[in-house]
Symmetry: D3
Subunit: 251 residues, 6 copies
């Protein structure tokens, strides 16, 4: 069920029924010359919709498309909140949900820049509100399927790389320009640093998308993306997300 | 053009072309037992899309659906930011737009609770950023057509009343339950107070949607709404909005 | 009664008696070469004092002279708070009043730049505090008398124009230099924009007092101002304000 | 000269002349059953006006009457800002003054609760703005005259005690009710604590005006106050303040 | 070198020499009945000191012992900042370091509750300041050694569990009470959740240390801790940290 | 007892026993060419440790070494929080202490720049939390001993002058370079201004440590400092501090 489509008396009933609330958080930021700025919002919304499709007693809110992207601001089209504003937005929205009596919340993230803010806010909110609140970044759920079917090497699955571009080719091929899709791989300064979205590291270096270091605004290899793989990524992440939602709902 | 569908190189071109940016702000809040909580977001997005349809050199951003609705929080399904957070969101988004070099911004509002915040932020932003920034609440542009074709009396055009319900019947009839649509009119405490959305007053009293004062969460008369009038409201407001955008674009 | 002149035991009695509290908000900002920067504070304080004169069970607080004037900062003598600070000031003061047990508050505004902030704060405060809180901008109450006796055309009644200058000539002629009073009228970019303080428009453009656009810092025609009309503006606005206060007090 | 009475072209001249700006900060808070809540605002405004009277190239701003008084909130009539808001107000006002080009600022305080906030803000502002900014609490300048002519013992000169009540008897006798003026002296918990407004201590304990500890809201002995001494306090503090202003102006 | 032991002329030289700055962030929070509240501060300080020992051109700042621990506040002795304050502290400290001209910063974390805040702040700071800023949580660097020598099963290495208690037994045995050290293992609600400090999961659930869910305030198995293993954990983490610092310094 | 060395069950007992909490606040800021930046943190920690040594039912927290030093930022090595952040840190830490049930708090300050912030926060906290909270700046307790044994004249006891340098020579002689210790005395602009740390004035001018006005970053005369006097300063201030703590504990 979509949160937005219910009237307040229907919300009153879903609260009473102990419904689980799924809240997508994404971004509008540059995704290289081959992808539109809507990638994160498009993909996380689509995956969430598929995951909750047909589930009883689960509500999906609209996607908060304004996210944290100071690291993409050198490329036009990026919209960002400040860190302080973004944390306030996350907290106010979850407070609204909790105030009405909902007790189980899953934050589903679709943007690298949001990860830490959502985790930080979740920690604070759990203890302020006394609700159960979980957080997952949907694209990390694609690690197993990616391992099996990826065309690129480790490193290909970064920002607007093989993974996201494949999914866009499946979901919104009209918005992708594969002729502009070019490989641009980031050299790690230390072996403990993150390699790509499915190979996290112990050493954290903030994402770096300046014109100097990454002139295309891309990290990874979008040139090997295919719609066929995109569909598989989409289905696999949605399925694992659905499983998480079911666990939360059954608490 | 939709902001979200462009890649960064395309944004670079629209900045260079001096494009005008239209930014819709709405809300997810209760709209009585007959309407879903998405009304404001649905209507302002639809009107904006129609208004910019086919216009050259005009960009429409996604609709910021999180708004200011403390006055609706007694009814479940309402999502609200705090006043401080909402002002920060408006400012951060416009700052992002301006940072990329866009110089003309129109804030299009679709929610009564947002009016003052958007005006306050616009005043501060204009002087901080040195851009041209206008603000209009789309439903107030329906005053002339409403005068001509309204079925209800003065007072019918309040929150989730004749105007909004008519438009929903035209745009999303599947989400409206006319059997639950009931008249609930607010008695003004002073003759200088606002009468309905098209009859603003000199004396401001904050909207009051407590369970005591308005048990349905409605102000106005949705029972006289028709899809036929809704279509006319929709077209008339979109047309006047288009005219405003053209004026701004031609500066 | 003046809030400031009572001791705390007397305040304890006025709380118990259910007194109404009138709180003036104004500004210290440039008013062109012919008027001092105190205009808004002087006029709104005077009108409020006349309005409450002799009323039982009504308290008038001191005028908060620090307001929101980023749009006048190019002209020296202007003092402004930031938007965030101003909203905090309004809220803290009303919270203080409510904490002592007062339940009815009228915010009386005398500065264009404050309108949106006061409305935004009032919305938030009403729901936080559960009190009755109304807001009115005193000079808008001069619309009827202005219609009858104005010397200038539509547009003359802007910032430091015919209306304010007339009232200053009546109340503080020693501070007005009519030789420096010059007409400076703003050309509207769109017909739906506000024309002057008594002709509000549907389309909001933040006030623009840069040295380039308005070298004098004036909007309107102060040259046609007279003390005689100023007295009538003063009496008419005070009378209507008194009527509003009586309505609030009688709730 | 009064800041508020100048037009912007006159301010332009005083900036060019290197004028010194005197800014009074006070409060509206309970002053026991014998004094009105305006005491601090009345006294600091009066002393400042006398101090600057006739001085060339010195500007006096309006008195910021909203101060920091959480410790008086158990007594009605007290208006307080939060600590965060108050610091923002001080900083925004001084920033406004500095932005126009004024380089010398004296903050004159008249309320115990404001001392630390003004000092803290002054430290931060000096280094942010690069201006010369001094701060003095006017009543501490009465230490020498008080030593000579006081009627009460050490401890009599506290909140709404001998000093302030004497000055009110001189300046606004109509607002003082000497029949309600009663001695209420605070017993220090440690010999290093402050004894009264002219005997500061090394050990700081925040002022404590709860109904339990000080049922009258008074600290000191107002019963020995006289208008005659009040006049002398008034003249002596104004004279010393004038001397400080002259030093600052001559830098 | 210790930041704190240098005078400003020596800092001037280290800036000129392009020194790397290591900044430890920890916490003072409950660590069960067998450990003191200083555990995180003690361990991260010790590991950092060992890591930088003898390194040229590397500065170690004092450990910021105030961290983010709302989730431990049910147990006395815990000191926590709010989320907003903590982010401001991190940012202000790094801004100070950068303002003096240092260009390479390593944030070393020693507390689970701080991870997200430090990552979020690092992202924002990198783009505000243009410096190189990395972040690592020291205990995660113990994953390889733990794998080899741990006595407990997966899950033993949680809050105040085998890892931290072993290190305390090595570094400050006087503060550990092994008789009170009791196993208390958390059952994961979903297989994708984190298992212990060396087995992070894809699904994030904020740490939960309420009296109900974890009456001891422990997560893991401190009863199998030994000083011998503690020494090895200490040396292994310090060595890997040293390697990271060297990489950063050699950029 | 050290707060940090207790486990939570021990804290539970000290809360029940009504323990007094001593909280040191200091800074890391430049102290001229002869002293390290740790001076304030070193001295206030040492004095506090000596003062509480052996006392029953008194807890000493770690020293908050991050303080308010915008006035020292021209000299590298200084770390400062913003005014807003610093006030938040003080408040959050005291709130944590009070939340666990402690009712008596002594803030011990060791840095001139912190005085006003700590006093301002203490005022606000006392009324928010209802606890007893005192504040003292330890070095001001050295006024009597300094009067007796000082080698320098009035003015010698300023920032990194005779007093602090003497104590450093006693406590950490390895960190002091007496060859770089040079007299640098500040000329007061008005006789009512503070003369040195033991001769406070009525007129407050924020400390001024720019390269222009004080090229060494020193105020006073460190050249006359001796370890012998340092020991006496240390013992005398610790003894008076102990006496204050005993008074608070015995309430």
């Amino acid at each position: 069920m979509l949160w937005e489509e219910l009237s307040w008396p229907k919300h009153e009933k879903t609260v009473a029924a102990g419904a689980t609330v799924v809240m997508p958080f994404a971004a509008i930021e540059q995704h290289g010359p081959h992808n539109p700025v809507v990638v994160d919002t498009c993909l996380s919304t689509s995956v969430c919709q598929k995951a909750v499709d047909g589930m009883e007693n689960v509500l999906l809110t609209p996607t908060m498309w304004a996210g944290l992207s100071p690291h993409h601001m050198e490329f036009p089209g990026t919209l960002t909140l400040s860190l302080e504003t973004y944390l306030a937005v996350i907290q106010d929205l979850v407070r609204s949900v909790a105030r009405h009596g909902y007790k189980k919340v899953l934050l589903v993230n679709g943007h690298g820049g949001n990860v830490a803010s959502l985790q930080a806010a979740a920690l604070s909110l759990k203890h302020e509100l006394g609700i159960t609140i979980w957080m997952v970044t949907y694209f990390r759920l694609g690690n197993e399927i990616a391992e099996k079917i990826r065309h690129g090497e480790i490193g290909s699955m970064g920002h607007s790389g093989e993974f996201e571009t494949s999914m866009m080719l499946h979901l919104r091929p009209d918005l992708v320009d594969m002729e502009a899709a070019e490989k641009q791989v980031w050299k790690r300064a230390h072996p403990l640093m993150t390699q790509d979205m499915h190979r996290g590291g112990l050493l954290n270096a903030p994402a770096d998308f300046t014109r100097d270091t990454k002139p295309l605004g891309v990290s990874g290899d979008p040139s090997v993306a295919t719609a066929e793989n995109g569909e598989k990524f989409y289905e696999a992440t949605a399925e694992r997300l659905r499983d998480i939602i079911q666990s939360l709902a059954s608490l």
